[in-house]
């Protein structure tokens, strides 16, 4: 298990390095960054000056090395648009986005696990179909429409929750539901399929032959084995939720990373863009690593060998 963890860790570092190269090269994606930074109609002298100030006249490998070295020391550069340090700017918003992503994932699991179990227990019956309908509803409605619906009901009609902002936990309830509901069907299907497969396994018959109560057969013996692939999906989906929350953040005026990414692209704020890409990728790599290790740990055949 330890050797496995180190191997996966090494791989993760390699992936992160590759991503950092790509993130740096983003700078050159839309042509000469100096021209882009100088703006339209800039004089050649201005362009040359910008190129020199930002160190863009050095060889590419030196530029990248310098950038990476500073990153590792915690220097994330200066935002071109906000004119402030990128580090504090981003980490402040990251907190909001993480909170949103994790609570959205939590909501998705809260909905999908019971529905998936119920659907599997009563597969192909009307209960199964109702469970599926409830889960799929989240994907059938466009994200923003569902969010507006929530605002109308909970804020405008019933005055239960604040419409926008990120001050208290109440501010996160609706965004988390709107975002989490969207990924719930994927979990629900996975749990349903996993439970159906596991419930027909021999060891479930053994558990029943031992006279164990239904809750023990379902939760201890079946769910424990059906949940393993869900852990992997949860990690991937959390990455998706973190990166894909722009719309929800905008609707609820949550000042998160998604909104910042949107701004940085609009204002050609390369330093911010690079760090966001790198950060989200690093989180993604970490999540995949965590899910691999969790998977191995959950399966005694890998953990104890």
């Amino acid at each position: 298990m330890l050797a496995y963890t180190f191997k996966r860790l090494g791989l993760a570092v390699l992936v992160a390095l590759t991503v950092s190269i790509i993130a740096y090269l983003l700078l050159y994606l839309s042509g000469d960054p100096a021209i882009a930074l100088a703006g339209e109609g800039a004089r050649q002298a201005d362009i040359e000056m910008i190129r020199h100030t930002y160190g863009l006249d050095r060889p590419l490998i030196v530029q990248y090395g310098d950038w990476l070295w500073k990153l590792l020391q915690g220097d994330f550069g200066i935002s071109v648009y906000f004119k402030t340090e990128v580090g504090p700017l981003i980490f402040d918003k990251l907190k909001t986005t993480l909170l949103l992503g994790i609570s959205a994932l939590g909501f998705a699991l809260l909905v999908s696990v019971p529905l998936g179990i119920l659907a599997a227990l009563y597969k192909n019956s009307w209960i199964d179909r109702i469970c599926l309908a409830v889960a799929v509803l989240g994907q059938a409605l466009p994200n923003f429409f569902f969010a507006l619906l929530l605002i109308m009901l909970f804020s405008i009609s019933w005055h239960m929750l604040p419409v926008s902002g990120s001050g208290t936990w109440q501010h996160f309830v609706m965004p988390a539901i709107a975002l989490g509901y969207y990924v719930a069907p994927a979990f629900m299907r996975l749990i349903r399929a996993g439970m159906i497969e596991v419930l027909s396994a021999d060891y479930i018959r053994t558990a029943r032959a031992k006279g164990l109560p239904a809750r023990s057969v379902i939760f201890k013996h079946a769910l424990r084995n059906a949940i393993v692939p869900v852990v992997a999906l949860a990690a991937v989906q959390l990455g998706f939720l973190l990166g894909g929350s722009v719309v929800i953040e905008t609707i609820f005026a949550l000042d998160g990373l998604g909104y910042l990414a949107y701004q940085s692209i609009t204002f050609k704020d390369y330093p911010v863009m690079q760090i966001i890409v790198l950060l989200l990728s690093a989180i993604y790599v970490l999540l995949t690593l965590a899910s691999d290790i969790a998977n191995a740990w959950l399966d005694p055949r890998i953990r104890v060998s």
Partner: protein
């Protein structure tokens, strides 16, 4: 309780399975009794309904299968009337079952110790420590060395033979009155098969419990059965005390099975064993008359009608038109 009390009484058991092709009658009018301290062997070709019979007794039939019985009593309690809760109180406690494939019958996610003790803890009000020492005691009884260490191991760390021993220990944890073993050795290496059956037979005799053993192996039956029930196409075609069945098999199907056993000294090495030509009839729909008639060398046209059941003074019964003297009824 007297020593020859009837533990399990099955009369007129039917199992019907809904299939795409119609209702499949997997078990038809099966009757037998098992007394305390007795081993009943259920034998018969693949697909004749042995597993369905045992699952029906344990109330473990798949959802598509339906059980009905004129009489189904366990320790004088009517299982037809027992609710889910009551069945769960009996299962794993008073009646236990061992399955064919020990590689898949244990949950890969939990340790041997956990799986050995969980039902004991559920059925008995006892401490985890007591449950563990009971588990160690039983693991030793089924011949597992360094039993205490085994408790912390996972199923995948054990060989097939060891896992089946664990299954046996697990079945015996609560001291059941009835043990059903459905081909407990078939999935194992030939060398291990004999060991597992020896362990089972020894424990059964030792504990004096009632056992239903399902097996293909008539050599095993000859060694450990007190009574034998021969099944064919969902029916018991012959049953009775083991010596009688082996000494004077009456049903042509039983006689055919006996010819399939190699006899040391008489069967030449590499010599051809008897086989029963033909195939089992489809179990879908109603069977009129004798199910075996298409493969029977004695078959007459009256075999298409209702077949009588003959009985000998020694308690042997068979479902055939031939009586004890080989004369046709």
């Amino acid at each position: 309780m007297s020593s020859n009390e009837t533990v399990l009484d099955v009369q007129g058991l039917h199992v019907d399975i809904r299939t795409a092709g119609g209702v499949l009658h997997a078990v038809r009018d099966v009757s037998f009794q098992v007394k305390r301290g007795e081993t009943l062997c259920l034998v018969g070709e693949s697909g004749c309904g042995k597993s369905m019979t045992s699952l029906a007794i344990m109330s473990l039939l798949p959802k598509i299968a339906h059980r009905s019985a004129r009489r189904l009593t366990f320790l004088a309690e009517d299982l037809n009337l027992a609710g889910k809760k009551r069945i769960n109180d009996l299962r794993g406690n008073k009646m236990a079952m061992i399955f064919q494939d020990p590689m898949t019958a244990l949950n890969p996610a939990y340790t041997i110790g956990d799986q050995l003790t969980e039902h004991y803890l559920h059925h008995r009000e006892t401490s985890a420590g007591q449950a563990r020492s009971r588990a160690v005691e039983l693991l030793e009884k089924v011949g597992i060395a360094s039993a205490a260490q085994r408790l912390g191991q996972y199923p995948h760390q054990l060989s097939g033979g060891l896992r089946q021993r664990v299954m046996i220990a697990m079945a015996l944890m609560c001291g059941p009155e009835l043990l059903i073993a459905d081909e407990p050795s078939t999935a194992l290496d030939v060398t291990i098969q004999a060991q597992i059956l020896r362990v089972l037979a020894d424990l059964q005799a030792d504990l004096g419990i009632a056992m239903v053993l399902i097996t293909h192996d008539l050599g095993v039956v000859a060694r450990i059965a007190d009574r034998v029930a021969v099944m064919y196409a969902g029916e018991v075609v012959e049953d009775g005390p083991a010596q009688e069945i082996f000494a004077t098999p009456q049903h042509p199907y039983t006689q055919g099975l006996m010819r399939c056993i190699p006899v040391p000294g008489r069967t030449p090495p590499g010599g051809k064993l008897g086989t029963i030509p033909g195939v089992v009839p489809s179990l879908i729909g109603n069977l009129q008359g004798c199910a075996f008639r298409d493969r029977c060398e004695w078959a007459k046209s009256i075999c298409q009608e209702t077949v009588p059941v003959h009985a000998s003074a020694a308690g042997q019964r068979w479902r055939c038109i031939k009586n004890q003297n080989g004369a046709f009824a």
